[in-house]
């Protein structure tokens, strides 16, 4: 616990120093104000946008989209990946396909999706969900394939039927990989979401920072970027970590 406190204390110092350096640079560098606004300008932007209700609405838009994608990833991507992974032959067949699509990110799909689905919510949702889904499925397949044969054999010799082997061995055995898939999927999805919001221009943090650029509202851009990062930290802390702590960390399958 003291180690944790030390880390927090160190971070407070580092952030304070960085903010000080930033303030100094903004005050002394011979550039226009919009080029490098001081930290106070970002705080002012935060206050104004919060008071007007714009920021809370945009944050809620972005969060809702990523949370929906996370849930769909869990409810659709994980079971689909598990199902594909069950058979070695099916898994081998789909492996290159899943690997291909997980590398062609939602961002690369955006131009085509704009043609198909138009400048609206639909494109954003398709892009984000697509981006989350493939790494989740891909890693669930890998997870199933990585379950030691020995565990399956041990359960078979105890007389376990197939459904029980799936529930007691395959599912928990695939969890470390599933957790990795969720982490990657959401990280990619969060990037794709911001990019989609920029292009589609229908609310959200991505839209906010892209639009601010048109009006030289640099403080807004910086504010938006900061919030994007902070929200990811929160997502990790409140959603991904508890999932890992309750399972694979407790079982000694990852070193923390």
């Amino acid at each position: 616990m003291t180690a944790r406190r030390e880390i927090v204390a160190t971070w407070v110092v580092v952030l304070a120093a960085a903010t000080g350096a930033w303030s100094l640079a903004a005050a002394t560098l011979p550039v226009p104000a919009y080029y490098l606004p001081p930290p106070t300008a970002v705080l002012t932007a935060l206050r104004d946008l919060t008071a007007k209700g714009i920021l809370p609405t945009y944050v809620a838009d972005s969060l809702r989209r990523i949370v929906v994608a996370a849930l769909i990833g869990l409810v659709v991507g994980v079971p689909a990946g598990l199902a594909l992974g069950m058979s070695r032959r099916v898994a081998d067949f789909f492996y290159p396909l899943l690997n291909f699509f997980q590398s062609v990110s939602g961002i690369a799909w955006l131009p085509l999706m704009l043609v198909w689905f138009g400048f609206g919510e639909r494109t954003i949702l398709v892009a984000v969900n697509y981006t989350v889904l493939f790494p989740v499925m891909f890693n669930a397949v890998l997870g199933v394939r990585s379950v030691p044969r020995l565990y399956v054999d041990a359960l078979r010799t105890l007389g376990a039927p197939r459904w029980r082997i799936v529930r007691d061995v395959v599912l928990p055995g695939a969890l470390p990989s599933i957790a990795t898939g969720m982490r990657l999927g959401l990280a990619y999805g969060w990037r794709a979401l911001i990019a989609a919001e920029m292009l589609v221009g229908a609310h959200g943090l991505g839209f906010m920072i892209f639009n601010a650029q048109n009006f030289h509202q640099t403080a807004r851009i910086m504010l938006g970027m900061g919030i994007i990062g902070v929200l990811w930290l929160a997502l990790d802390y409140f959603f991904l970590r508890p999932l890992e702590e309750a399972t694979i960390a407790r079982w000694g399958l990852v070193q923390r």
Partner: protein, 263 residues
């Protein structure tokens, strides 16, 4: 009386996935194990010991020959034949007690009854106080005790053990061997125990089955005429019958490895 395990003309051939060579692991193996016997199986490495066990477990279908347990042909794994594997095969995501209870859970034994059985086996293997621990919190010897307890708790007719103590340290191995001896005496189960360690084979077995080099078949069956109650390492090693039997088995094994030192 009908033998508990009866193998006749057992042969097994497989293709090595790396070299693509056909390997004849077992050929013309005949063996009968009466009910309640503790049979140890030794032989040079690669003689098909593990294959034999895997076939009996129903995990590997033999290429030819018949495998009968209680007069019925083995067609797949079943809870009448419990297996203790060489590596740690207990589940990392289950606590000690839930691992031990797993077989009973599968059999649909009610929770209260399960708890009673688990308590009994936790005591038997000396892991009181560790019931709620996960395998990664245990030593290698403790994990293998849990594996043995899981198999015993499921109460199989036959126990198949594949070098279960090979990966624990020497001191722990001695303790585990003595414990297994006590358990064998108490439960009177039919046990087939595969090992490459001749001393271990003689210490544990009612009879010691020596396999030939590949393709494995039964080279000799050596009875070990020392009562089970006298089988602690202290008493056992000073017993002249032990030394003589050990030397005899060792000689048989060494004939098969062709001079290669095998302890």
């Amino acid at each position: 009386m009908q033998a508990k395990i009866a193998l006749a003309g057992l042969g097994h051939e497989y293709v090595n996935p790396f070299t693509r060579e056909r390997v004849l692991a077992l050929d013309g193996l005949d063996l009968e194990v009466p009910e309640g016997e503790f049979l140890t199986v030794v032989g040079p490495s690669g003689c098909g010991k593990t294959t034999l066990l895997s076939i009996l477990a129903g995990l590997t279908p033999p290429t030819r020959g018949s495998v009968l347990v209680d007069g019925r042909a083995v067609t797949g794994p079943g809870r009448d034949r419990g297996v203790v594997f060489q590596e740690f095969a207990i589940l990392p995501w289950r606590t000690v007690e839930r691992n031990i209870a797993h077989g009973l859970e599968i059999q649909g034994v009610p929770k209260a009854e399960r708890a009673a059985v688990v308590r009994r086996f936790v005591d038997l293997i000396g892991l009181g106080g560790f019931e709620k621990k996960y395998p990664h919190e245990l030593s290698g010897g403790m994990r293998q005790r849990v594996a043995v307890a899981r198999t015993l708790a499921a109460n199989p007719e036959v126990m198949l053990m594949d070098e279960p103590f090979a990966s624990v340290d020497a001191q722990t191995r001695i303790t585990l061997q003595e414990e297994l001896n006590t358990i064998a005496q108490a439960t009177r189960k039919t046990i087939l125990f595969v090992t490459h360690n001749v001393e271990e084979a003689v210490f544990l077995g009612d009879r010691c089955c020596v396999l030939s080099r590949r393709p494995g078949r039964v080279k000799a069956l050596v009875p070990v005429d020392i009562p089970r109650a006298r089988r602690t390492w202290k008493l056992f090693t000073s017993d002249p019958a032990f030394g003589a039997t050990k030397d005899h088995v060792l000689r048989l094994v060494r004939e098969e490895v062709g001079g290669e030192d095998n302890r």
